[in-house]
Symmetry: C2
Subunit: 608 residues, 2 copies
């Protein structure tokens, strides 16, 4: 397998040439204090080193050996991580990385999402299993920072940022996967103001492991007298070890790992059954407002899961490209047939190029779109007034898109990379098939991609009567208009404009249809999400093409930029490839949506 090479050039191109993150930072007082271009470049460079040198080498072994489960002397489950994970985690902690996106008042570094998102990408490209430990912790910390009491934050948040402790999110129960309204875990109020938590949670990533001294579980549970359904859910902090007044670890709390799952992939990530047996818990936020506290985190998590998909796609591309350049098999179609003894590299084959360019266009497009969405999250978090409102709207709209679209494309890219390696792609030692197995989970967890599609179409588009989608459509329309005097851009803006008009039309059609038959929404959701995705990706590809055109034309290009003409040529070629050969995917999806819901719902369940 190729050694991972972090795509720092592309990241900096996006931050400073395409999305002008530096200008945003100057604009927003809170960020202006924490970050500038120089700092961010240095941060990403350091992160690249850790990913390339410390995490990349442990990933294959982590897959083969995985985590192991045993019982301690008290009969409680314990989990041993794979060789090298503890050392890599310690290095990660020593570098201060768990604090990267954290609240500065509790020891965090206060970096914007546009920076931390790229950290997540690099971690996930090298090893999703490893990355999940800090990423889940960061997500939990976010909820705690926003909704926790001052006391909880002083006691726990600081330790999560320091990396001494980690965290887990305990939502799912065996009978209640995506339907959190029916969870059964109980929280009984105690005299001291804490709660006794009892119940069993499944699929808990990092619920137990040997990387940190303590694990802080954020747990959804219901009070005995809570309202039925989602409005009766509260969020609790349940530490593995209690903490005394001096902030030292005290007795073990009544929470333990019952078993771990054996999974298709992410073998080195501990997926735990967690049993709470009257464990002491502390309320986070208000009673019965637990779901709202979780959703604070979810927008950040879900774009993170989207990035996981893209990360695996990036790794797949790097490996497959190296293989394709090396592997000599057959001859080019247009080659002379004489030199039969010297086969060409498989780069000559149209279908190999197709798969490589699909990956390249999807990875770079997803990275650009994730940067755009992260920027909206930063406006929503650190901005004010109109900027904040628009950031809020666009990130709400595009979060389910990022999660589902990037993971679908990422999975496709891992499969494409595997295909390029042929039989070697199917053999474990080459590492390529691991990417397929690891990336697959990202389409499932944090809300399946089907649920994301419903979140987008039902909760965002239909619920806002189209208003949220109109924010996006106006943004892109403005952009297209801004390029009207730029004839070189018309090859991109013309198809973008057509795609945008179709997106607008289909959104309106579905709004109308939803009034008559709400099942039209369920029938259309997945295809609609992808129509939106291909269009949004065309938007960021147009922006990248625009910068590349202008930089390529600049006389002073070599002095202005570190990238060089080849970087921009490659971008332009890939942009053209995207518009010619990937954006047309929306056409079939539009036709399918327009066929309506009848063929899905007319057939009775017994006839399946």
């Amino acid at each position: 397998m190729a050694e991972y090479k972090a795509p720092l050039t592309d990241m900096n191109f996006l931050l400073y040439q395409v999305f002008n993150a530096d200008k945003m930072w100057q604009q927003l007082p809170q960020l202006n204090e924490q970050v500038d271009q120089e700092t961010a470049i240095a941060i990403l460079q350091e992160c690249a080193k850790i990913a390339e040198q410390k995490i990349d080498p442990i990933a294959r072994q982590g897959d083969e050996i995985g985590v192991s489960f045993s019982l301690d002397s008290d009969g409680r489950g314990k989990v041993k991580t794979a060789p090298g994970y503890k050392e890599a985690f310690d290095t990660f902690v020593e570098g201060g990385w768990p604090a990267l996106g954290g609240d500065v008042n509790y020891g965090g570094m206060g970096m914007p999402k546009v920076v931390s998102a790229f950290m997540e990408e690099m971690l996930c490209s090298t090893d999703i299993s490893f990355a999940l430990y800090p990423i889940l912790t960061a997500g939990a910390a976010l909820s705690l920072a926003k909704h926790g009491s001052e006391e909880l934050k002083q006691r726990y948040l600081t330790k999560l940022y320091s990396g001494e402790w980690s965290a887990s999110m305990c939502l799912t129960e065996a009978h209640a996967g995506s339907d959190l309204g029916i969870i059964q875990t109980k929280a009984v109020p105690q005299a001291d103001g804490s709660y006794a938590i009892t119940g069993s949670k499944i699929f808990i990533t990092g619920g137990e492991h040997d990387l940190t001294d303590n694990i802080v579980h954020l747990v959804l549970a219901k009070l005995p007298d809570a309202p039925a359904g989602p409005r009766g859910i509260s969020l609790f902090l349940v530490p593995k070890f209690n903490v005394d007044e001096n902030e030292n670890l005290a007795e073990r709390n009544n929470v333990s790992c019952g078993s771990i799952e054996h999974k298709m992939g992410i073998h080195a990530s501990a997926t735990c059954v967690m049993n709470f047996d009257g464990a002491q818990g502390f309320l986070i936020g208000e009673l019965n407002k637990g779901l709202a506290c979780m959703f604070t985190m979810m927008n950040f998590e879900r774009i993170g899961v989207g990035i996981q998909g893209m990360s695996a796609g990036e790794r797949s591309y790097q490996n497959a490209l190296e293989y394709a350049k090396d592997r000599r098999q057959g001859k080019a179609l247009d080659a002379s047939t004489k030199a039969i003894k010297q086969p060409d590299s498989i780069m000559v084959h149209g279908d190999v190029r197709r798969m490589l360019l699909n990956m390249k266009a999807f990875n770079e497009g997803s990275r650009a779109l994730s940067c755009y969405i992260a920027k909206q999250l930063d406006y929503a978090t650190f901005g004010s007034g109109e900027l904040q409102q628009k950031g809020d709207q666009l990130s709400a709209l595009m979060t389910p898109l990022a999660k589902a679209f990037f993971t679908d494309l990422g999975f496709e890219s891992t499969v494409a990379g595997q295909q390029i390696l042929g039989g070697h792609g199917y053999i474990r030692e080459w590492g390529q098939e691991q990417l397929v197995r690891d990336a697959r989970i990202a389409q499932i967890y944090e809300g399946t991609n089907g649920i994301q599609a419903m979140d987008l179409l039902m909760r965002k588009v239909v619920a806002s009567k189209g208003a949220l989608m109109n924010v996006f459509i106006e943004e892109v329309t403005d952009y297209i208009e801004s390029q009207q005097e730029n004839p070189a851009m018309s090859e991109f803006t013309a198809p973008l404009s057509a795609a945008l008009a179709d997106l607008d039309d289909i959104s309106k059609l579905l709004l109308t249809k939803s009034v008559e038959d709400i099942n039209e929404i369920g029938a259309a959701a997945n295809d609609y999400l992808h129509v939106f995705g291909y269009t949004a990706m065309a938007f960021v590809w147009a922006k990248m093409a625009q910068v590349s055109l202008s930089q390529q034309d600049s006389d002073a290009k070599s002095s202005q930029t570190e990238y060089g003409a080849e970087f921009y040529q490659s971008k332009l070629h890939t942009a053209r490839y995207y518009f010619n050969r990937l954006l047309p995917r929306r056409l079939s999806l539009l036709a399918t949506i327009k066929s309506g819901s009848e063929s899905l719902f007319a057939i009775e369940d017994e006839l399946f």
Copy 2:
């Protein structure tokens, strides 16, 4: 995981109502002696029992334990199959199944491909790993039956049909995957008329195992003075144990297994490195005509690999359907919100129905199309005159389609089934993720799907100047015309007609373009194969809909058929679903093909 239930009703529907296999058998003298409807129904029923009762139970354990490799006392590699495989294989042999499609002159049962293809489906739906042992043997037997000398056939073919021995196909070498012209294995003529075979082969399915007393390897090798490239390849039979004049096993031949691969899936199938060290081999067919001997087998094998993909899709559908009906999560969009404590089954969700119906339409469509292609193979094998010629042409055209299209759709179906199970689909114990891992190989081996696409477009369509594709187009055109007086069929024949016209147009466009720029073919091949696939599948769905319409309208339906009205209603719904929501996929593919090859080939290799 749901217990496998063989789709016998669908198989009989295809054989006797849609494709009139019984009439074909009566028409062809050689088949008329061997098979009639009653016999074939009994054969498939018996096969279903073995698959459901003997093979299904060993598959999960086979995945977890897999095959294991060790050295025998002489230092030669040996392979132990997983628990239960030997017993299941013995049961399979006792039932006489290895002889099913075999030459009657050597102990075969002489059954047509339309029957043996369904046997393959049932074996593969329960366990692809298990199925590969007999399927590879049957493929090798086919080459031997067609090209082997009388002596070789008497000595070896009879034992392959009896199931006492098995066979392997030794093609691939480490540096020569799809490019067989550059193999290096040598065959040196010996004084006794045999050849000394020396070289190393990789990815040899069933190259070594403990299921049979002897293994017959068919090996591609080159004589020292052979012409360079594919025209210098010969085919040899190399037994693991030599056979004496009394047909008893004699001394061990100089061939042994060096190691086995650790793979993403099909863990219970032994994928071997086979080392030949002056092993005694016997020429099959003529010197330097080895590839032609292999291709005899390949048409049969490749449709078989296509069927593997569909088989996994069928199993995925059965599992996911059972899960979806049982699993209660959330409420239907159109449900009253009052009964909040009783969630609905996830069958109410449009996206779950979409995934189920995708699978159903693909499985039944692939089964129908495989039956149609198998019928063409039977005409090619057992027919004469025009019937044989047309069978030859259509099977040549559609074999790469079957291999690539069915495995692409099959893989999509395994992924969809996994998605329906959510987190449980990612956990090993549920068995669903095994289907994804097992099915994935079918897109890669026996010629990657990219190679199949080139075989279709370059070797079949372009090389025949469109003549082969015209045979198909005429066949479908005639069919559409035959339905002109049938108004109920217009909802199917109208879109079929449009799809066929587009297929015709794009074929002609590519024939024209190929003259100017042969890279247009490489750029279009994959998309073209899928355009053809969706159109061909529409053709068989139209035929299924036609039968279902006529049976449904029949007054005497309950006495005429065992299926019942529900069977036909389900078919009609699924046909409508296919035309509404799956056939439109061709639109994007057509647009992509039309965009041309430039965006694939203009970018230089260094800019990837």
